[in-house]
């Protein structure tokens, strides 16, 4: 199969859907002629013009609120935040409007809105350009959250986002953008709430999110040489979360570690841990473990930045600890 990058894969989904569905338009800063700070819309302006690739002033709250009204009235907006940290100025629109319109209107108004942006720590981007924030949107009802970790998932999840009627946060880790991988040329969708078992194994289960999925996979391949057979699961969406696949795996392995770059407290790992506690307690041969980035604003200097992210060594150690319990 041909290989393309993660960004290209998501862009392919977008441009294909824009060709099929004239109600799709994109808003954001520099997503017009410029093609997006991260090339998310490169080449689309020439095809679809300014009404469908709408460069905006720096008004995150404004264009999110505007797109809310648009989604309520027959179009399908895609908000391109560039960096997800900028989403915070629009939280009122997200948590009080977008997530509630379908409910309050008793299903008579749909909310087919995609909000995308880069997440994650890397490149000394420092504290205003390194956020992830997805646990917040898992806490709040009414929003879908997709976290692709491969080009294949990026295209398939973006297609699902662009053809459903629910609001979707589509979060792209900045260190994955240029990663290449096999992506079918044909149309396909990855249903939300369907985890990928990226490595089958029997000794322990590792759930790893977004950029941590390939990192964890690499560590587990190494550990396989030592005879440890670890199952690695990438949930791909965290709202909905495919807890069944995780429970099945834990039923088999008896051990679970959740690896997530972003903050631990009230995070995805906490939720998975609690759910497995509630639904798979008797399967556990050892306490469930979490490995998260440090609970601190993200510092700039490489020596500090590296210190706050779970690295290969920390992952390896956490898995060894889990196996030793």
């Amino acid at each position: 199969m041909r290989e393309i990058t993660y960004t290209e894969a998501a862009r392919e989904a977008l441009t294909e859907q824009m060709a099929l569905d004239p109600s799709i338009f994109v808003v954001g800063e520099g997503i017009g002629e410029r093609g997006g700070n991260f090339n998310t819309t490169l080449g689309l302006y020439e095809k679809y013009g300014p009404m469908r690739l709408r460069d905006t002033p720096i008004v995150e709250r404004g264009f999110v609120g505007m797109c809310t009204g648009a989604a309520m009235t027959g179009t399908r907006p895609v908000v391109d935040f560039m960096i997800v940290d900028f989403i915070l100025d629009s939280m009122g629109e997200l948590l009080n409007q977008i997530s509630k319109v379908q409910y309050m209107s008793s299903g008579r108004i749909k909310m087919p809105l995609v909000l995308r942006g880069c997440i994650g720590i890397g490149g000394a981007a420092a504290t205003h350009h390194s956020g992830s924030y997805y646990p917040i949107f898992v806490h709040i009802p009414g929003i879908r959250v997709a976290l692709p970790s491969t080009p294949f998932d990026a295209k398939g999840l973006m297609k699902t986002a662009l053809t459903g009627d629910d609001p979707v946060l589509f979060l792209e880790h900045k260190l994955l953008l240029n990663k290449r991988g096999p992506v079918p040329e044909e149309d396909y969708r990855i249903p939300f709430g369907q985890a990928a078992v990226v490595r089958a194994g029997s000794d322990a289960t590792v759930v790893a999110l977004t950029v941590m999925a390939p990192k964890a996979l690499a560590v587990c391949e190494e550990l396989a040489d030592e005879g440890f057979d670890i199952e690695v699961i990438d949930p791909r969406t965290v709202a909905p979360l495919d807890i069944d696949t995780i429970l099945e795996s834990v039923h088999k392995t008896g051990r679970l570690l959740i690896i997530d770059e972003t903050f631990g407290p009230c995070g995805i790992g906490a939720e998975i841990s609690a759910l497995v506690m509630e639904n798979g307690f008797d399967d556990l041969d050892a306490p469930i473990a979490r490995l998260n980035g440090l609970h601190t604003p993200t510092p700039y200097s490489p020596t500090l930045e590296n210190a706050v992210i779970p690295d290969q060594a920390a992952i390896t150690e956490a898995i060894r600890d889990l196996l030793a319990e």
Binding site: P22, S23, F25, M51, R52, R54, T56, P57, V59, R61, G62, F63, V64, G65, M66, C67, T68, G69, A70, A71, M72, T73, G74, T75, P77, G92, E93, N96, Q97, V101, Q102, Y103, M104, S105, S106, G107, R108, I109, K110, M111, P141, G142, R144, G164, D165, D166
Partner: protein
């Protein structure tokens, strides 16, 4: 504003009177119901401001859309939501326009173009702009209206929303209901320039008008002009309506301290309904009989709505988690 200049038929004039009276009648009954404990949640009435909703919505088609505020009963009724559906919603009944999920501040009736009243100040401005974006992108000649109070003028949503509508020439009418207070905070303390129309013109280069919000014909005229502009793609407008609410901010709240009894009385003399009625009669556009007939009709509509609301069932508790996501769920 002379009605003749507007080219309104007698029927249209009476229908404006009918709508204002219907809003007033419904809300007076809702206020009473609130006192009796039949409205379990908050209730902000529009009493004294009816000319705005009636005048603006008379200039709209059914497929035009309206984004409203916490003070939205008038907007809902004027846009064509039935008094039954509004009253039942405030009573928390399954037959309400939001099936009991919303109450006063969350009236939804998209089939009538009512895209929601709101418990949060501000978003109506942005969402109104967004509907305009939809219509423009889809090549439709529908128009979007955003209602908001003087309290929203200082909010960032006003600045960001008006600016976007202006630079992209969206088919939107922004209707500022300046009733001089945001809860108890006077508009004059919230800003150094209360001239909202001037601000729209200067800061956003937007077509803007300032009208007597208690004069339904003035509101209608400005709205018809703004809607016509928007419909042909000539861009957004702002209409500043100077008005006053004669009841407290919300039912059950005190109404003293921040404004004088004289001020309230002064404005009661400028009642939009009584004044319009007198004008109709003085101009020979209606006689006492015609008015009495409308009054009676409205009264029976209101009675029917309250009876409907009272006798409707409460929603089934299991419906509390329905419709969070779309059908694909």
């Amino acid at each position: 504003m002379h009605s003749d200049e507007l080219g309104l038929s007698r029927e249209q004039l009476l229908s404006l009177y009918h709508m204002m009276t219907l809003i007033r009648g419904t809300e007076e009954q809702l206020a009473r119901a609130h006192q009796m404990g039949l409205v379990p949640g908050p209730c902000h009435t529009y009493v004294g401001e009816e000319a705005i909703a009636a005048g603006v919505c008379a200039a709209l088609r059914r497929d035009d859309v309206v984004f409203s505020t916490h003070r939205g009963h008038g907007h809902a009724l004027a846009k064509g939501v039935s008094p039954r559906a509004v009253a039942a919603e405030l009573f928390g009944k399954a037959t309400g326009c939001s099936q009991g999920r919303g109450g006063s501040m969350h009236l939804f009736a998209p089939e009538a173009g009512l895209m929601g009243t709101s418990g949060i100040v501000g978003p109506s401005i942005l969402q109104g702009a967004g509907a305009g974006y939809s219509f423009k992108l889809l090549g439709l000649d529908r128009v979007s209206v955003a209602f908001f109070g003087d309290g929203a003028v200082s909010n960032g949503a006003f600045h960001e929303g008006l600016n976007m509508a202006s630079i992209w020439d969206l088919p939107v009418v922004f209707v500022c209901e300046d009733n001089m207070y945001a809860t108890e905070v006077p508009f004059r303390e919230a800003t150094r320039n209360q001239n909202v129309a001037e601000r729209a013109r200067v800061s956003y280069a937007m077509n803007a008008a300032s009208v007597d919000g208690n004069d339904v014909l003035a509101v209608y005229a400005a709205s018809a002009a703004a809607v016509a502009r928007a419909r042909v793609g000539a861009g957004p407008s702002l209409i500043e309506c100077k008005t006053y609410r004669t009841r407290p901010h919300a039912e059950g709240m005190r109404d003293g301290g921040y404004r004088s009894a004289e001020e309230i009385d002064e404005w009661k003399k400028r009642d939009p309904i009584a004044n319009f009625k007198n004008r109709l009669i003085a101009n020979g556009q209606a006689d006492a009989d015609a008015i009495a007939e409308i009054d009676a009709e409205v009264q029976s509509l209101v009675q029917d709505a309250m009876e409907f609301a009272r006798s409707s069932p409460f929603p089934d508790p299991v419906s509390a988690t329905e419709y969070i996501f779309s059908a694909q769920e």
